[in-house]
């Protein structure tokens, strides 16, 4: 008898449209969030926050209630939703420009308050939707449309290490940085995303997962080359791992 081992998660709409470029890790990240919502059985009790950037089209695929936040303000919007409806599961889906540049204030302070929400951050070292400009996480030497000779620290500073920074905040309960460059990495990422939701569900504080992701279009690489970059120079600067885990400690 044939046994179903994988299916599109229910938290992805039946008439979904993945609006990302070919080979972009965004799609995989979205799918993992949806799988976790399915597994936790919270789809019908969830409110997602869509941010500005490539993640703005969340309503094309997420099969949950969604409210759109202005650029960078997702964690403030999430705060408003969660404080008004504390029994709801609330998550943000943001890029690194949204969460760590224009929205770093909202991010840090929502986490300082220990808001019981989950933040998923796609770190692809560039502003994807606007065409590949340098962002807060652009690596030293990285060529972008605004660092055409490579990012120079003396001119535009250093890449912001988001997870290392957020783990220091007392209100975060779970902080992890993951990659999606192999089936094993994807399975691990899902485990971490689940923990970040459990941090919220158990009322321990903010759950946060930074996903090192590819942007093949703006990096001008094949999806395969882009994954090699994640494994290589990106992982050297942004070391993957679990930075804080009050969820396991609480068990």
């Amino acid at each position: 008898m044939e046994q179903l081992v994988y299916k599109k998660p229910d938290s992805i709409k039946d008439d979904f449209k993945i609006s990302f470029c070919p080979g972009c890790d965004h799609g995989t990240a979205v799918k993992l969030v949806a799988e976790v919502l399915d597994e936790l059985g919270v789809r019908e009790n969830t409110i997602g926050i869509a941010s500005v950037g490539c993640s703005v089209f969340s309503y094309d695929f997420f099969n949950v209630d969604i409210v759109e936040a202005p650029h960078g303000r997702s964690m403030a919007v999430a705060t408003g939703v969660k404080r008004s409806k504390p029994d709801k599961i609330v998550f943000t889906y943001q890029g690194d420009g949204d969460l760590a540049s224009i929205g770093i204030g909202e991010t840090v302070h929502a986490m300082t308050r220990g808001e019981k929400v989950t933040a998923i951050c796609i770190n692809n070292t560039t502003y994807g939707m606007t065409g590949g400009q340098a962002g807060p996480t652009t690596l030293i030497g990285q060529v972008t449309t605004t660092t055409t000779k490579g990012r120079k620290a003396e001119l535009s500073g250093y890449p912001l290490k988001i997870s290392e920074m957020l783990k220091e905040i007392d209100g975060t309960a779970y902080v992890a940085r993951v990659t999606l460059d192999s089936p094993a990495a994807i399975m691990n990422a899902k485990k971490c995303i689940k923990k970040a939701f459990e941090a919220q569900i158990k009322g321990l504080g903010t759950g946060f997962v930074e996903i090192l992701s590819t942007c093949p279009t703006n990096w001008k690489m094949t999806p395969q080359e882009a994954h090699a970059r994640v494994r290589g120079e990106m992982s050297e600067v942004f070391k993957p791992g679990v930075y804080k885990d009050k969820v396991s400690e609480a068990q």
């Binding site: 709409k13 789809r43 019908e44 009790n45 969830t46 409110i47 926050i49 869509a50 703005v56 309503y59 997420f62 099969n63 949950v64 209630d65 969604i66 409210v67 759109e68 936040a69 202005p70 303000r73 403030a76 919007v77 999430a78 705060t79 408003g80 939703v81 969660k82 404080r83 008004s84 409806k85 709801k88 204030g105 909202e106 840090v108 302070h109 308050r113």
Partner: protein
């Protein structure tokens, strides 16, 4: 239950009325002259098991309001001038999202940091908006502590009924004035928000609240729909005060705090035989153009008085132009600083009256 009159400060009246109106979520950041509102809410909201968050900035506060409002609860923030400026992006989104919420704006004198003196320098900010796109912030301007209560109720009701951000536009004088007022019961019906608000997609399709519209035609339709709402609000929710406008030759236009001083000056003018009236728009946005036009057709001149360099003045002029009347419109204003006295306004009335009315009819008409 009969409610007692209390000696109340404007800011506390607003806060108490918000609670009475059923405000479920308050988010704010301190700024004088409205900080008492946040202080009061920080104490009372948790006691009532409602949400209070000391936001890290006004940018965050208005976006918390956006999130709270998207769940259908009565949500509110309060702020002032340069800090309301920080909220403009959020307000544009909220208007585009069609999310109900209340903003209390207690004006300082500006521009920039300015100072905390009574001023009406943010009439443009409230009614013309600093945010992007085609939208309006429905705005009510109280001129007494009692109106702080009544209009806070009105703001919540209109915001909930029409799913739109509504602003209570006060100033340092109104916010800080203490006078007797009654916190009446919230007089409006509760509006059911369950047809659109977010509460988890249980046994229904997921909902999406956003201002983004990728199709040209749907973006156009959305803006048209929002503007139809403003027309309905003007038709159904407009409030104003007309004082002695019948038979008046000169009408004073003023709103908010200065209108009450202007009213005292008008009373004095009437006592002295001058045919002067007062028109005070209480809803200043959308602007009651037709009513001003009707008045303009019956008088010989208008004297607009504001605590700024002439902001509502432009709406008055546009209203008069709309009915092709060419009566003179005079302006007496003073930007942030010293409040005008009754005597001072009376002198202006007298001067303008001489210039316009007596010139036309001779002194006999006095």
């Amino acid at each position: 239950m009969k409610r007692e009159k209390q000696l109340l400060k404007g800011n506390y009246a607003i806060a108490q009325a918000a609670i009475e109106a059923g405000c479920q979520s308050y988010f704010g950041y301190p700024i004088t002259p409205q900080s008492e509102i946040g202080e009061y809410m920080s104490e009372k909201m948790p006691e009532l098991n409602r949400a209070y968050v000391a936001a890290e900035s006004e940018v965050a506060a208005i976006n918390m309001v956006l999130g709270a409002g998207s769940t259908g609860v009565k949500a509110m923030t309060s702020s002032s001038s340069c800090a309301v400026a920080l909220m403009q992006e959020g307000l544009s989104f909220i208007a585009g999202d069609e999310i109900p919420c209340v903003l209390v704006s207690v004006m300082r004198g500006g521009p920039g940091l300015g100072y905390i003196y009574p001023s009406q320098g943010d009439y443009y900010q409230a009614t013309k908006g600093g945010g992007n796109g085609d939208y309006k912030i429905v705005t009510y301007a109280p001129s007494s502590v009692q109106e702080c209560v009544d209009l806070t109720y009105k703001c919540f009701y209109v915001s909930q009924k029409y799913r739109t951000p509504v602003c209570l536009l006060a100033d340092g004088m109104i916010g800080q004035t203490m006078e007797p007022a009654v916190i009446n019961e919230y007089p409006y019906e509760e509006i059911n928000q369950s047809e659109w608000a977010l509460d988890g997609a249980k046994n229904r399709k997921p909902r999406f609240i956003a201002s983004i519209e990728r199709e040209q035609e749907s973006l156009r339709k959305r803006v048209v729909k929002i503007f139809e709402k403003y027309n309905k609000i003007l038709e159904n929710e407009n409030i104003f005060e007309k004082y002695e406008t019948e038979g008046a030759k000169l009408v004073i236009t003023a709103f908010g705090s200065i209108a009450r001083i202007a009213k005292a000056a008008v009373k004095k003018a009437r006592k002295n035989g001058l045919k002067v009236g007062l028109f005070r728009p209480i809803m200043v946005n959308p602007f009651p153009e037709k009513i001003v036009a009707e008045i303009a057709q019956k008088v010989d001149g208008i004297l607009d008085i504001e605590l700024n360099c002439g902001q509502m003045l432009q709406d008055i002029k546009a209203s008069i132009a709309s009915c092709a009347t060419t009566i003179p419109v005079k302006f007496y204003g003073r930007p942030a600083g010293v409040m005008m006295t009754v005597e001072e306004i009376y002198k202006q009335i007298e001067n303008v009256y001489k210039e316009i009315v007596e010139k036309k009819y001779g002194t006999a008409c006095i």
